[in-house]
Symmetry: C2
Amino acid sequence: MADHNALPLLVLTEQFARLPGIGMKTAERLAYYMISQSPEDVEAFANALISAKREIRHCSCCLNLTDKDICPICEDSTRDHSTICVVEGPKDVTAFERTNEYNGVYHVLHGLISPLDGILPDQLKIRELLARVQKGGVREIIMATNPTVEGDATAMYIAQLLKPMDIKVTRLAFGLPVGGILEYADEVTLYKALENRNEM
Amino acid sequence: MADHNALPLLVLTEQFARLPGIGMKTAERLAYYMISQSPEDVEAFANALISAKREIRHCSCCLNLTDKDICPICEDSTRDHSTICVVEGPKDVTAFERTNEYNGVYHVLHGLISPLDGILPDQLKIRELLARVQKGGVREIIMATNPTVEGDATAMYIAQLLKPMDIKVTRLAFGLPVGGILEYADEVTLYKALENRNEM
């Protein structure tokens, strides 16, 4: 931006530009938009930022994001606490909850094993998962990490650790996405769909 | 978002979703991103919002956004204050400044006449422009609003008001964009390019 621009506007633009997927052009547009809002609206935004950061923490059981000590899912006694769905991040929990079909609980790893990016198993919440299992009462662990190299490796790694504990470990099914078009499916997906075919 | 999500996170997501061009999915992603930043970084963002809104005002001369009483452009005595470039918004000033070719000053209308959207001439900074001209010392007014129905109408309207004041009023040239491809130009642009052709 040209140097004639007022400094506070420049600072705000740069803050917006630091957000993922937001370039300088969009950041400039957003900064101008915020300036055009009422002082109350701008303050509400600033407060939302501060209080989200201050109040959101990891659930001490499943490590999902929450503003309580134990998240509502872990606290819900009507849910099946013997089934734990292991996911990469909080967004995956949201995705599963949207299905309205899953009644177990979760465990959020906060990442996937990725040696190339310097992310080793120690940096994930795997220790916490093992501690939960050791407390007893768990019958099944569903490995629900993404079907990617990192997701598969992480699922495999955790499955190995759980083996001696004599617990059922399952993996999400892979196949054609519902509503997908066969001719556009990639080879690996199609192979998986064929391999895991079910009797009708 | 599902109701299991923590309230402060939901509030922040909704704040992001209110920004223009940002949907719920992106807003969610941005909210999660902010949570993952350090408290200092989040506070810096919040402060940038607050201080931009508090410190940015309209230049008392050209009405561009600035954090001073008079903006640096209006205060610059090396610039030609007898030529005023009239633009729709502050972003247009930035665009002209980027050319490094314009040495006059600006006047920001903060909108265009658009009766269908309920924007009438009174809501624009036209009165302020006339007051500047009446003070004297102005030789040329360049109407640099967009080549749209609203932009043209606004330029025409202001030109009419300036007529009795005996001041040169000009309009930006319309034609092929530099680097543009002729076969992709729309008919009106091509017609304008033909009509305004120059001798080589």
